[in-house]
Symmetry: C2
Subunit: 265 residues, 2 copies
């Protein structure tokens, strides 16, 4: 039993997909979410910049006395997770390894498509992790840099998002993939659209459940699970506009049970 | 005669449209450009965040000993120009007032459309400046938040940019405007596309020429014009990825006569 909060960080609002799953699975835990909406998107920036920003996010959460940190962002996980783990006094969990484990070991996928930001795809992190588990698996990766701005803009159901997504996903038409990994925590917000485009025969996997299961495992192993105070959930953002609130409300279907707070990093 | 450089700042690469015009008109001047590519786009963020970032840009340029600063960004000009001017020892020139002067006093436009980022449009800066000069002018404004990410992504000629632009510009179909102000320094990069969509009968005006003329006037008035050293041009960015370089090259047609330098703010 440990009443310290669980920290979750992301470049913006995409990580809320992971936060939602963690809250569902661990409803009694205290949660602190931090989204860097003042500097989103991360996935178009270079490694040095992403690492600098990510360290600031982790530092903020550590100062809030969290017991573990979930980096609910593929771009950060792909770019600098070991560096964040090395400098943290508490466990830091990324989203890539657990997702790959799910796909390769549980689903036994053989031909895998991965979509993500340019930084995630260029890092080749998914390839590396998949090849570590199974060197016979075939992987096709495609960067989809404009999906994050479109989703952050609240355009998930707009025609242009469909066109942009089709343009990116056409890449897989002749690849014969059995599984598509949504390698960005924003993408579950347009999962239905993606499924429509790629067809129902391809399984779509995202990081929300695998990362949550990994978090539970780490908390149990370190004897950190459980909270016997009334659970509080705080949502910090580095920028809050009416659009931010609107998009969060659309995404959480108006049921975000916690306070939005603006902070400077 | 004053050999100090002219400083130009923007949220990203859009301000290069203004830099290009300044270099063309004042080829002997030293130039320092600063684009905040690590935190672009600004126009979707709130006033407090934009002001904080803009002050950091101006501070950087002042530390580089510039003789005048051109804020080559409508979002910053619309959000916090007076605050930047108040705190600067050198003249700070925005892009809105000079553009409005051109449209109202020289072109005698009567029904004006304005497009810009959400922050620019919400600030109502164009309306205020236009009404100051001519209270009979009719103004219609439309925020186009996704055009900046699309242009920064190098997608200017892609189908989705056309569809996004059409969706935004359809707003003007029944407005009978005679002039459209491109209230964002990125938009000249897709001026041809915008002209195609709105038709040839509507004049399109952007800030590049008016802001340059305003700069020349301010330099002359303050006896700051001219440089008798060999002119140098330095281009600083807070983030440089291969994509940044690619987009700059497309935009400058490979002729950016200066060095790209990465800095942290």
């Amino acid at each position: 039993m440990n009443n310290q909060p669980i920290g979750i960080c992301d470049s913006g609002i995409g990580g809320l997909t992971v936060a939602k799953e963690i809250i569902k699975s661990l409803p009694s835990e205290n949660i602190i979410y931090l989204g860097d909406t003042a500097r989103v998107p991360y996935g178009v920036r270079d490694k040095e910049t992403i690492t600098k920003f990510a360290k600031e996010l982790v530092k903020f959460l550590i100062n809030k006395n969290v017991k573990a940190i979930v980096v609910a962002c593929n771009t950060i996980s792909a770019t600098c997770l070991p560096e964040l783990q090395k400098n943290s006094p508490v466990p830091v969990i990324g989203v890539i390894k657990s997702t790959v484990d799910e796909v390769v070991n549980k689903l036994k996928s053989k031909t895998i498509g991965v979509i993500g930001t340019r930084a995630t795809i260029n890092s080749r992190s998914y390839e590396t992790e998949i090849k570590n588990l199974s060197d016979k698996t075939v992987i096709f990766s495609q960067a989809c840099p404009l999906l994050v701005p479109l989703i952050e803009e609240g355009f998930s159901t707009h025609l242009e998002t469909k066109i942009v997504a089709e343009e990116y996903l056409n890449f897989f038409d002749d690849k014969n993939i059995d599984t598509l990994i949504l390698g960005c925590t924003h993408y579950p917000m347009i999962k239905k659209l993606i499924q429509e485009i790629i067809g129902n025969n391809i399984k779509i996997i995202d990081s929300t459940k695998p990362a949550t299961l990994q978090l539970i495992k780490v908390l149990k192993t370190n004897n950190l699970i459980g909270n016997n105070s009334h659970p509080t959930r705080r949502f910090f953002f580095t920028d809050i506009t009416p659009q931010t609130e609107k998009t969060i409300n659309i995404f959480f279907e108006g049921k975000l049970s916690g306070k939005l707070e603006k902070i400077n990093l």
